[in-house]
């Protein structure tokens, strides 16, 4: 680990992943005092209250990966954190499955928490992902932008 570049471990996942196994495996390799984590799972109901059967997560291949790398590089430098772990689902996601796992390790709690929060927001606004909800009744709807923070 050098002082100017954080260690970034970023990936898109085509299939369901186990966020706790990934996090444990990654965090136990860090030597930092502070780790902040965000874990997002697919809701079983839409914002309108409809029961959901699944979600299709479309992305712009290669631009999406490039954006994630750029955003993580920028935020990890801005907050001087040591390591970032990111997993983001694409493809068909079922209710209860993990959508996003973001973990940030840093020497201090403030840097870890701020970086985790700001990187998550920047991903939500700058990485080309699109969610399409498929209701239990079989209808489809593209999610229009992000829910407010």
């Amino acid at each position: 680990m050098n002082s100017t570049h954080a260690c970034l471990d970023l990936a898109l996942c085509q299939r369901s992943f186990d966020p706790h196994a990934l996090l444990a495996n990654w965090e136990l390799r860090q030597t930092n005092a502070a780790t902040a984590v965000f874990l997002g799972r697919m809701r079983g109901v839409s914002l309108d209250g409809d029961a959901l059967r699944a979600m299709e997560l479309e992305h712009y291949p290669s631009m999406c990966e490039a954006q994630l790398h750029q955003l993580a590089t920028r935020q990890s430098a801005a907050h001087a954190v040591d390591a970032v772990l990111l997993r983001h689902r694409v493809g068909t996601v079922l209710p209860g499955e993990a959508l996003v796992l973001l973990a940030v390790a840093a020497p201090r709690r403030g840097a870890a928490q701020r970086c985790c929060q700001e990187l998550l927001e920047s991903i939500k606004h700058e990485a080309p992902f699109w969610k399409k909800e498929i209701t239990a009744a079989g209808s489809c709807r593209w999610v229009e932008g992000n829910t407010p923070f």
């Binding site: 991903i123 939500k124 080309p128 593209w142 992000n146």
Partner: protein, 83 residues
């Protein structure tokens, strides 16, 4: 001597792709052109880029009046919703 015919690739995603009925198309580049001009030419919806639609050239966000180059990959992105 005429220059060789040049093209760009245009990509649409999510709701835009479904509305247009296509996700990827090659179009000729006739002289200087911009994403906004392509949007009109492809009849993707109105004379102006709708609020919330973003433009990427070669997988980087750019302004809608950026000048296109032969071989560019132009993409129109509806409001994103990740995380």
């Amino acid at each position: 001597m005429q220059p060789l015919a040049t093209t760009i690739n245009v990509r649409l995603f999510a709701a835009l792709r479904e509305q247009a009925g296509w996700g990827c198309r090659t179009m000729p580049l006739m002289g200087p052109s911009t994403p906004l001009q392509c949007w009109r030419e492809l009849e993707l919806g109105g004379e102006h880029l709708p609020v919330g639609i973003r433009v990427a050239i070669n997988q980087r966000f750019v302004a809608a009046d950026t000048t296109l180059q032969a071989g560019d990959e132009l993409a129109f992105l509806p409001p994103i919703s990740g995380g």
